[in-house]
Each structure stands twice: as C-alpha cells, then as structure tokens.
Amino acid sequence: MASDSPLWPLLSEAPTAEDLARCVHCGLCLSSCPTYIVTGLEVESPRGRIHMAKLVNEGRSELTPAIQQHWELCLQCRACEAVCPSGVPYGRIQEHARAQLDHAAPKQRGQRRVRKFLLRNVIARPRVLAAAMAPARWYANSFARRLARRSGLLRGRLGAMESQLPRNVGRPYRPANTASPSAAATDETSSGVLFTGCVMGELFGNVHRATERVYARAGIDLRATPGQGCCGALHAHDGDLEFARKLARKNIAALETTTGPIVVNSAGCGAAMKEYGDLLSGDPKWASRAAAFAVRVKDSSELLNDFPGGSFEGRVAYQDACHLAHAQRIREQPRTLLGTLAGCSLVETPGADVCCGAAGIYSLVQSEMSGVLRQRKADQFAAARPDVVVTANPGCHLQYEAAVRQAGIPARVMHLMEVLDEAASSNSQQQD
C-alpha cells in the first residue's frame, strides 16, 4: 500500500521503505522490549514504533505529537533487533525517525533544540567538556555531595543528573597532544589504538588506565592517538545524523593512518563506530574509508585471549550493556573472561540483558521510565546480593551505582577492565 506522498518532514534522512518493509509484524520482539515489558502497550513496542514510521511513510498519518512521544520513549537498546528473525535494522530506523523530529518537532521543540545544542557544543568539544566536567569531578568526590544528598534538594531532574555522577572520579584521561615516536614502528599484532571518547575520558579516566594495563598484560600496547574525539553515538541516537557524520569523519581522519585494532571500552561508542560504514554509506568520498575503519573497531573484551588472568574474590553480577549484547552481539566474551578469574563467582541475575534505563541521555530526558527500569535492577540486585556489579559502558555504570544505592547493598560497580586489572595486579602481588 505504498503511497507516493510520504509525510516525512526531512525526506533525505527518512527511514527507507526497504528497511520498513523488512518488518513482517510477527510480534516476536514484543517480549524483549523494556518499554513494552513495563507498559504492556503495543504503542511502546518495537513493532508499534516501526508501524508508526510506516504510517508516516505511506502518507497515512502526520508525524503527530503522540508518535513523537512513542519514539522518544524508545531506549534504542536494540534488544528487539537482536531477537528479530527478519533482520529489521531497528536502530537505523529509529535514528532516521528521530532525524525527522527536529524538523517536525510537534512537541517540545525548545527542549530538543537545547539538547541538540548541548550535544553539539559541549559533549563533542573536548575543551568545553573538560571545563564543564571539572566542577562535576570536584563535586563527585567532595563532602559537599554528601551534604547535598542529605539536604533533600536533589529532586526531579536535578536529582537525576546528580545520580549520573560516578562515586569516585579519577583523573581525566585525554589523548596525547602529539603522536608517540614509537607509534609507526610497532607492528599490528602487538599494538592498537585506545579510543578515549568524550565523557568516558573525563569521568572514567581510571577505566582507560585499567584498559591500558590489562592490554599490556595481554601483550598489546595501546596508544591514545591524538585527533580523535566524541564518536557521535549520542548525536545519531538523537537523530542529529548530520553532526554524527561530521564526528565520524573526524575520527576516521585521525585514526586511519594508525594500524592495529581500535579498542573501545564503551559499548555505545563501539557499536556506533562499528557502524560508521553504514552511517557514511551515502557519502562517496568517505564510504569506503568508513567501512575500512569500522572493521578495525573492537570492544575491549574481544581481544584478550592472551590475558593471563588473576584472582578476584566475590560474587560478580555481570550486566550486559545493551549496545554490547544487542548491537555488537557480544555476550560470551566478558563472561568467559570473568569466569577465568580465580575466586570469581558469576551470579546471573534475571534480565541481565534488559536495559537498565541509562541509555545515553535517556535517563535525563525520560527520567520516569528510566527510574522504573533502574528500580527493576535494584530489586534484582537486592535479591541476588552481588559483591560487584560489572558492566562495560559508562552510562550503565552510573545507573548501576544508583541502583546499588537503591538496593541498599554494599556492592561495588566496576567496568570489566577494572575487574581484570585488579585481578591481574593481585596476582602479580602474590607472585612478588
């Protein structure tokens, strides 16, 4: 029933009829979708959201405020994509659907503009981000934070933002200003690039340093090559595909002269960078360079066959980052790595691969649904009582710190690389 008059406000970025036709509306995705699990409404399901895109594409419906709300409640966790037998590229459809909202923006146009501005001018600009993060970093580790928490002032969106700060923030980790002299000389199998990202480098410098040490033990020398920056995932998820492409081109230009894998310890960034080829497929000058770049991108759990192991005592609950499990389809490697550590007892909690509600900036813009999903995790943690909650993505990391507090258990939240690093160093201490 294709109509000749699609109602997309920005036709050049519209979801394609071909992508939409992939959906045979079998409904198998429903039970995997966090927002359908919570609401029971098919309008909050992947099949429903795809159908709304079809309605607009076929000229059957305007892009109404209701459709905008249903799309914006989507976490873009892509759990549906992983279970879809028909291979519907849901993530891509959703990004292109959101690209329409800036132009139609039937609701909350102002909010969308502010968001777009911040994503473009703070997140994607290393110096601005560094300046913005400095006070946050000070606050996170300070006594003022304890006071603020007790004061009861942290309500609503402010509270949501506050809870998005990690418990212990280490020194930032930024790419070097100049290329290290050894870079050109090293060979491909024993060296690679560490992708530093935006927020990851500012708030999770410790994870980057842990990643370097873990890779060194596995015989791979990682360098934070200069010129790289934000991967553009947050921009693409928000529908700002134009800017996401710009950031992708910048990273490709900065890193394509290097050799070896591009190691990413943030699942969301890794997923986006593995899809650079797709993102730039319509750009004849960059398509093949992007595709060549994308195949070099590896999640930090993928290349550690030679990691010597170590010991790590405790009950460990590994929680799949959505963009690792669903977008990159990496589920086994992190569990295998944890399984090899002496004393590490893996606790599988139900719904470990259901989104925690962090979902990039989702926890800030959809704080209600995000809170429901966080509470589900908190309940699971309270029942399973792990000593450590392990994840592989900065957003999830922050959400789990809040969930652990809600659960009232003394668990630590760690990145997989931090666990491996600690395990390996405890091992070498014993050997010393």
Binding site: M1, A2, A21, R22, C23, V24, H25, C26, G27, L28, C29, L30, S31, S32, G40, L41, E42, V43, S45, R47, G48, H51, M52, L55, R60, S61, T64, A66, I67, H70, V83, C84, P85, S86, G87, V88
Partner: protein, 482 residues
C-alpha cells in the same frame, strides 16, 4: 451506533482513562497480528483483572459495539484483528504467574503471561509447560487457549487442549464463570474443551490453570540433511512406523533453511534441499537406541548426513533457527501468507508435490517449514503486497493448497486457528447442520455475532472491512458457504 467519544468514556469508566487508547495513530498499531489481515479498532481497552474485563464487555454489549480479544498479537490466522472494528480488549496488563504447585504439577496464570515465561518460571522445579508455539517467547497463554496452539513438541505431548485444566472466563455476555478447575473434571459437558480453540468467540480467559510436565531426563537432537523434500517426507512416516514417537519431528525446505541461517547462523547446511530436525527425549538407554534407528531410517532414504547436536548450545541453535524460520522469511520477501493445513502422514509426499506444483503454476515462491510428525503443514506463500493484484493471487494459490489438504482427508488448521480468511473453507469439511450447531454454541455464551466477529464460522455480515475478503471468497469456489 454510539459515537467514539461515548465508547471511550464508557471504557474509561471500566478500566480508568490511562488504560484506554483512542488516538488514530495509536489504534493503527492494533490493526494487525502476524498475518496480512488489517482492520483498525475504534478503541483499545486494557483491563487489569477479570472484574474490569467483565465491565468492558458489558459496556460494549450495552453500546452495541463489537469486541475483539487480543494477547500479544502474534497470531497467524487474524484471530485478534478487529474485523468489524469496535473495541479491542488487550490482556497485556494481566500477566502475573499467580501460583506454581510443583506437587500437583499445575500453574495458575493470568492470560497475558508469555508462554516461555511460564516454562522459565517452572524450570527451577524441574517442570515445563509443554505446548511450545514457535512464537513462544512473545505469544500469551490466553492466546494459546483461544487458538488451541500447538508447537514442535506437541507431537508426543499433545496441544493446548491436553494441558489446560481450568479456565476463568468472562463470557461474551459479560458474566464471570469457571470452566473446569484444578483437577480433571470428567462429568457433564466439557465446556472447558469447547472454549479451547474457540478463537475468542465465546469469551475472554482471565485465569488459566495449566498442567506442567517434568523436564525430560535426557534429550537427543538430530539433524538429517536431504536433497529433496520428498525424501524427507518419506522418512517421516518410516520413523513413526519403526515404532516410536519422537518428542518433535520438524521439516524445513531450502528457502526456510536459507532464511533461518541468514537470521541466526545456526549451522544449517546451505546446500540442502530439506532437513528433518528430530528430537528424542526420555531415559538415556532408550533414546540412544531410538537415535540409532532414526539415523538408519534417514540414511536408508537418502540422507546425505545425519548430525547429532553435540551439546546444549548446538541444540539450542538448531531450535532457534527452526522457531524463527517463519518470520525470517521477511528477509526474502516483505509479506507471506501462511497456511496451516493438516494431512494424514501417509499423504505428506503427495500433498507436498501439490504445493510445489501450485508454486510453479502461479509462479510464486512457496517456502515450507512444518511439524512433519503431525502432518501439520505450513506452506508460506511469499509476496510483496505493494505489487498490484499480488494479494488476490496469493490467496487463490493458498485456497488451492487448502483444497488439496482437505481432499487428502486432512483439516484446515492444525494450530493457528481458522480465523478470518480460512472460514469460508469450512463448508469443505462441515455441512450446514455442523456449522449451525457451532453457531448455536456461540449463542450459549452470549455471542450474538459481535464478539470477535467474522472469525471461525462462515456466517455473519458486515465484515467488508477486511480488504481481501471478496478475493478469498472468490478463491473458495462456487460451493463456498458465505
């Protein structure tokens, strides 16, 4: 007819305004199930319990608005598509597992519980819920009851009918009643039996008491690779004739294998003409012997390879591909028309030949994946609904295949239900008296024609909303009862 505003107000009173949907773009999402049927409701209500469900039904009856029950909308016969519009009652908010009793081996669940969630919840007790439709990860127990759902493992264990002991029902007249109970009840009319498979035309299940069965002591899964569907079909009867009933015996043809392999990388041979997936369960000593027999029967009939799944993971992958095979066909074509014919096992080879003849004659690809042990075929006619005239030709081809199944002594549906588009074929199997008796049973439950209208029985008027109805009636031939 009442206005939409009146209907929405009445529903809001019954279930609360937050649980009623009325915006056109929201309602459009409820216009389909897993089939090519389409019809948009005027409103959707999501009751939280039996009392609210009854209130919704009574309100609709009072206003004279058609009602269509809906679970997860994964059905394959259009059963939950609101053919005459009106109100869709979704069971999606009733999804608690109320009780699991490992001693009596029963569970009490609400209708919106996904089938697989029940088996997962029963697993710690060493039990599971046997009927396992391929959509089990999403489809609901309530929907399974309505359609008398089957699944690969129903070959040995039976379909939904054999596993439901009692049902709490809001009847089409809006009354609350129990059919059956916690224990098998053999006296009097088996209204529980009548309700299962009634395709939502008698009422809505609001609680279901199901039987749970012990997980098997051990399982062997075999994949036999053949050059042709014919060889594989012949092998099915041979295995049963050898004196065993496998836990499951499934066939997939080349098109389905390609689609499933593309979707799941499950290790299917890319160059096979057909495969048989055979599962044996029971005591290790016994099934080892059975596996040897299955292997011998397959090889004797030309199997190129008989592979034994080496562990849990390989077994899971083989099943994952099988269970996702039908929607995976979305990779080959934007639409498919799925059939659900049943034939006596002895006629498998013959009917499969007819299917391939129909495919050639209409020049439309038809994929096949089916419960071979039960003779329950699922020919899938692949097409693109955007091509003008495609839909009516596809329905015509489907009609011919259904006719072949009936002529071979078979039935119109094994597990998906008759639903909307196959109901005009009912007169091929039932005479006027049969159909009138079934229609009278509906009235016993208070259905005067507005409760899931245009389903199951070839009676009723005003179903013109279903776009291709006329084409299907034409395909059914002059002796159709319309």
């Amino acid at each position: 007819m009442p206005t939409r505003r009146e209907v929405v107000a009445a529903l809001a009173e019954a279930v609360g305004p937050a649980n009623v949907m009325w915006r056109p773009e929201d309602l459009a999402v409820y216009e389909f199930d897993g089939t090519i049927e389409r019809s948009t409701p005027h409103a959707v209500a999501l009751p939280a319990n039996a009392a609210e469900t009854a209130a919704v039904v009574r309100a609709c009856n009072r206003l004279g608005v058609p009602v269509t029950p809906r679970g997860a909308g994964t059905g394959l016969s259009g059963g939950s598509v609101p053919a005459r519009r009106g109100v869709v009652i979704s069971t999606a908010r009733m999804r608690s597992i109320l009780e699991i009793d490992p001693v009596d081996r029963i569970a009490i669940v609400e209708p919106g519980v996904p089938n697989l969630d029940l088996s997962k919840a029963a697993a710690p007790y060493g039990l599971f819920y046997a009927p396992d439709p391929s959509s089990q990860q999403a489809c609901t127990i309530g929907g399974n009851v309505a359609e008398n759902a089957g699944g690969p493992h129903c070959l040995a264990l039976g379909v939904t009918q054999n596993h439901v002991l009692g049902i709490e029902v809001v009847t089409a007249s809006g009354e609350l009643t129990w059919l059956g109970g916690r224990v098998p009840d053999a006296l009097g009319f088996d209204l529980r039996g009548a309700f299962i498979g009634s395709e939502g035309t008698l009422g809505i299940a609001t609680k279901v008491i199901v039987r749970l069965v012990p997980s098997p002591a051990s399982v062997i899964t075999l994949l036999a690779v053949f050059d042709s569907v014919q060889q594989a079909s012949e092998t099915v009867s041979a295995i049963i004739s050898a004196g065993m009933i496998p836990a499951a015996m499934e066939m997939m043809d080349r098109l389905c294998l390609q689609a499933a392999e593309a979707g799941f990388q499950c290790g299917y041979p890319p160059d096979a003409g057909a495969v048989l997936l055979v599962e044996l369960d029971g005591l290790p000593d016994i099934i080892d012997g059975q596996a040897a027999t299955v292997r011998a029967e397959c090889l004797e009939r030309g199997a190129k390879e008989v592979r034994l799944a080496s562990g849990q993971r390989e077994r899971e992958m083989l099943w994952k591909g099988r269970k996702g095979a039908i929607p995976a066909l979305g990779r080959l074509a934007p639409n498919y028309y799925i059939l659900d014919g049943v034939v006596p096992r002895s006629k498998l080879v013959e009917v499969m030949e007819t299917v391939s003849t129909v495919s050639e004659r209409f020049d439309i690809p038809i994929a096949n994946v089916f419960h071979a042990g039960d003779g329950n075929l699922h020919p899938l006619v692949l097409f693109d609904e955007r091509t003008p005239g495609a839909k009516s030709r596809v329905l015509e081809a489907g009609g011919e295949i259904m006719r072949a199944c009936v002529d071979a002594g078979g039935a119109l549906s094994g597990e998906h239900g008759i639903g909307a588009e196959k109901r005009m074929f009912m007169p091929w199997l039932y005479n006027e008296t049969d159909i009138e008796n079934m229609a009278r049973l509906r009235t016993v439950f208070g259905n005067t024609g507005d409760f899931n209208p245009c389903k199951l029985l070839p009676t009723g008027t005003g179903c013109g909303e279903m776009a291709h109805q006329a084409a299907a009636i034409a395909a059914a031939g002059p002796d159709a009862y319309v």
